[in-house]
């Protein structure tokens, strides 16, 4: 499986990235080689090996259902590029 510049364009769009033609070509090449490497790993026979998600066994981390203090509205909005009253203000979406 290989990556075409048109694939790169599609994923770049989904990730809201603007890429030049050179970049599209370069990333298509680089991502293709990554895929090729993954392809090699997929060839390893793993039948008989139990599935696992982590290499270090970890105890489950839980949070009890207890309310903790939230940030103040001012703190929450401190990094916002723009605001109106209590709300984040963003370019019109509908």
């Amino acid at each position: 499986m290989t990556f075409q510049p048109s694939d790169v364009e599609r994923y770049a769009k989904l990730a809201r990235l603007a890429l030049s033609e050179e970049e599209k070509a370069r990333f298509a090449r680089e991502l293709s080689s990554v895929l090729e490497y993954v392809g090699q790993i997929q060839k390893v026979d793993t039948s008989g090996i139990t599935e696992y998600e982590t290499v270090v066994p970890l105890p489950p981390a839980w949070r009890e259902d207890v309310v903790e203090p939230s940030l103040s509205v001012e703190e929450a909005l401190a990094n916002a590029p723009d605001r109106k009253d209590n709300f984040f203000k963003v370019p019109r979406v509908l």
């Binding site: 259902d65 903790e68 939230s70 009253d85």
Partner: protein, 478 residues
């Protein structure tokens, strides 16, 4: 041609937790904008989500309640998309390996019971809320992140629903289950329950599904039913005129009672799901599952059947009484104190329901506790109150919250037990009905009830019927 519709519903229900699913922010409804946020639910760099155990427990309850399978190991996944109400740029959900699979919901429609299969139930977090202020020159939207990270379950039904009415009945049954098990308040007005619908039509008898559309933006169960009716009619019209239904997402417009395509640009269907690297697989032990199962209350369908069997109620009465857990509890408390199941059922289903409707309140808000209703019915049973009087007393109790005794005393409805007073009334009644007196003396003893009734009537409902009965017998020579 005759068509059949094929409907599947996706319901999002808010789990009834105090805190959000991955952080300690409150889930309280109606708070000031952006006052319930923290670095985790704001999606700040470097933070880690930690799963709320209670949210998982409630999700487990919902799976057990519909008879589904809990998966011993399920995986959280990232659903990636950009929208201003999603600060992280992805929603944590479950995709390939959901927490629950299978199960069914029993739906009652026109006296018939039908099972609608459940495909899956999975855990996820809610997104925030965006507002779009009206006005020509307004070129912005506003975002409130309070809802971000509120725990949800998504319940996906099999495409086994065959009509808009059935979809409505399914939602009613599902809401009942969620409320009985206290998994969710399931209140659509507060956004605690939302429903999207997938619908297609096909010629009756055909096995293959037609092309489906997805309906969104319905804000009540009736709106879901109506939107489905409108969309089914639209699809049939297209097919009948030789056209093809296009697979798309449609938004329900409540004001216009019509559907309109969602602008294609708004969302991409390519969510690029992948396993959430910040969370471990969710493992549910047998012990945990067993303890959740033990804590499960009797479910509405089982309770309805028990009411029919144990209390000899009609299907109709039992369905009404079990429509909400609180009403069923109220009924059982009252019957426990006054064991006349049919009469208690009648009074709740007619009188009490009328007050709930009139006042637009829930039974928990009714000022008449079940014990007081039982006390009232006992009085009615012992004839110390007539039916009309009992209704009058109940109305006063609903208004004032006073006890039966207090209302009866206040209205001067206290039972008269003074023998001298009763004796006077009995004598008057006996002399007023000479014919009946002779018949009684001649052996027609069933006329006793007639004399007692007339005496109670004469007293304005105050006479103690037991004492009256004794006095009548005495005067007529027994």
């Amino acid at each position: 041609m005759e068509y059949e519709s094929v409907i599947g519903l996706e319901v999002h229900a808010q789990l009834d937790t105090a805190a959000k699913i991955f952080c300690g922010c409150s889930t309280e409804f109606g708070a000031e904008g952006n006052s319930q946020t923290c670095p985790i639910c704001l999606g700040m760099p470097g933070v880690l989500p930690v799963l709320n155990k209670r949210a998982v427990e409630l999700a487990l309850r919902s799976i057990l309640a519909v008879g589904g399978q809990v998966q011993p190991k399920s995986i959280f996944a990232r659903k990636n998309y950009f929208y201003p109400d999603l600060p992280k740029g992805y929603q944590i959900s479950q995709y390939e390996r959901p927490l629950g699979t299978g199960g069914s919901v029993t739906v009652h429609l026109d006296g018939l019971a039908k099972r609608v299969g459940i495909t899956r139930i999975h855990l996820e977090e809610d997104a925030g809320k965006s507002f779009h202020p009206e006005g020509r020159a307004i070129e912005y939207s506003l975002v409130d992140v309070n809802r971000c990270g509120v725990p949800l379950i998504e319940i996906v039904s099999e495409p086994e629903i065959r009509s808009p009415e059935e979809a409505y009945a399914y939602l009613v049954a599902l809401k009942q289950i969620l409320q009985y098990t206290e998994v969710s308040r399931a209140d659509m007005e507060k956004g605690k329950l939302r429903c999207d619908a997938n619908v297609s039509v096909r010629p009756k008898g055909q096995k293959e599904f037609g092309t489906k559309t997805e309906l969104k933006n319905m804000n009540s169960f009736r709106a879901v039913q109506k939107a489905l009716e409108v969309e089914i009619a639209r699809q049939i019209k297209i097919i009948d005129s030789g056209g093809k239904v296009v697979q798309e997402t449609l938004l329900w417009d409540e004001d216009r009672q019509a559907v309109a395509p969602m602008r294609a640009k708004e969302f991409s269907d390519d969510y690029r799901y992948f396993p959430e690297p910040d969370l471990l697989p969710l493992e549910v032990s047998m012990d945990w599952l067993e303890s959740v199962r033990k804590g499960l209350p009797e479910l509405p369908e089982a309770r309805r059947r028990r009411f029919i069997e144990v209390f000899s109620l009609s299907d109709y009465d039992a369905s009404l009484l079990t429509s909400e857990r609180a009403i069923a509890d109220y009924y059982e408390t009252a019957v426990g104190l006054y064991p006349n199941p049919k009469m208690v059922a009648n009074w709740i289903n007619v009188e009490v329901f009328r007050f709930l409707k009139e006042k637009k309140i829930f039974i928990d808000d009714l000022k008449v506790p079940a014990a007081e209703l039982a006390a009232l019915l006992k009085k009615l049973d012992s004839s110390s109150l007539s039916n009309t009087m009992a209704k009058e007393v109940l109305a006063a109790m609903v208004e004032t919250g006073k006890t039966v005794e207090a209302v009866v005393a206040q209205k001067g409805l206290v039972q008269e037990s003074d023998e001298a007073v009763l004796d006077g009334w009995v004598r008057e009644v006996i002399s007023a009905f000479p014919k009946q007196r002779e018949s009684y003396k001649a052996g027609k003893k069933q006329l006793l009830g007639f004399f007692v009734g007339e005496t109670v009537k004469k007293s304005g409902g105050k006479a103690n019927p037991k004492l009256v009965s004794t006095l009548v017998k005495k005067h007529l020579g027994e």
